[in-house]
């Protein structure tokens, strides 16, 4: 069995715990017992402008569990190809799909089947057809070399056991000159060894 980069967590156990946790978010985002904000409480706290979300139904927003706003650096440009790593319920993917328009395309990647089902259902309901949600891992993106103009992600890479592999995959998927716009958490206090071995804190 493989271990996380620091050797403290077994990779398959961590992935299973994260999948289970985010399947709960997919199934019951409003009534679930989560230690983070979800839905509109999260989008408002993180500074998503109302006009970005006004075309989306509540069902598209409820399962949002991001940690900051990757579009603080600007929206994708018309015609661009975008990959959303850990696309969850699909909110950021659908914002990107609207921004790139019919000449662009968005691929959302997630490892949790319940989230993929929710995102596909949300995109169909919203009438968004320049988007595809694919099952996969950040460390093995189901995207061909150099396909993407932009890679976005929100609150996901901190959960990935092998971050060097994930960033290597992002580089592979981007065209030369392509860019990333990522939202994630940073820790300002050194985390003790026992806390780094606590999968419940990884999920947080």
């Amino acid at each position: 069995m493989s271990q996380s980069e620091d050797g403290l967590v077994e990779v398959d156990a961590l992935r299973a715990a994260v999948q289970e946790h985010y399947a709960e978010v997919a199934h019951d985002p409003v009534g679930g017992d989560f230690h983070f904000h979800t839905g509109r409480a999260a989008t408002e706290r993180l500074g998503y402008p109302d006009e970005l979300l006004e075309h989306l139904a509540d069902a598209c927003i409820e399962a949002f569990a991001g940690v900051a706003n990757p579009f603080a650096w600007g929206l994708p440009r018309h015609g661009e190809r975008v990959v959303d790593i850990g696309s969850g319920g699909g909110l950021d993917s659908m914002v990107a799909a609207r921004a790139v328009g019919p000449d662009g395309f968005v691929v959302g990647v997630d490892m949790t089947p319940a989230m993929l089902e929710r995102a596909r259902r949300n995109a169909r309901a919203a009438g968004i057809d320049n988007i595809e949600f694919r099952e996969g891992l950040a460390e093995a993106l189901p995207v061909e070399d150099g396909w993407a103009d932009l890679v976005v992600s929100n609150g996901v890479l901190n959960l990935v056991p092998d971050k060097v592999a994930a960033y290597g995959e992002i580089i592979r998927a981007l065209r030369p000159g392509g860019r990333i716009q990522i939202a994630d958490v940073c820790v300002e206090v050194e985390v003790p060894r026992d806390a780094r071995a606590d999968i419940d804190l990884w999920k947080g």
């Binding site: 603080a72 716009q181 994630d184 820790v187 806390a195």
Partner: protein
């Protein structure tokens, strides 16, 4: 990130991601904030 080839790495303003959420106490203990950041794959 620079080790795998990214350049022009920039961080935006932090946000209090967990403020008012059940995870706030842990976030305060470890100084956890959300950040947007960007970088470029050299052309």
């Amino acid at each position: 990130m620079e080790d795998v080839g990214f350049g022009d790495l920039r961080f935006g303003e932090p946000v209090d991601t967990y403020g008012g959420a059940p995870g706030e106490a842990n976030a305060r203990t470890f100084g956890v904030h959300g950040y947007p950041f960007t970088a470029v794959k050299p052309g």
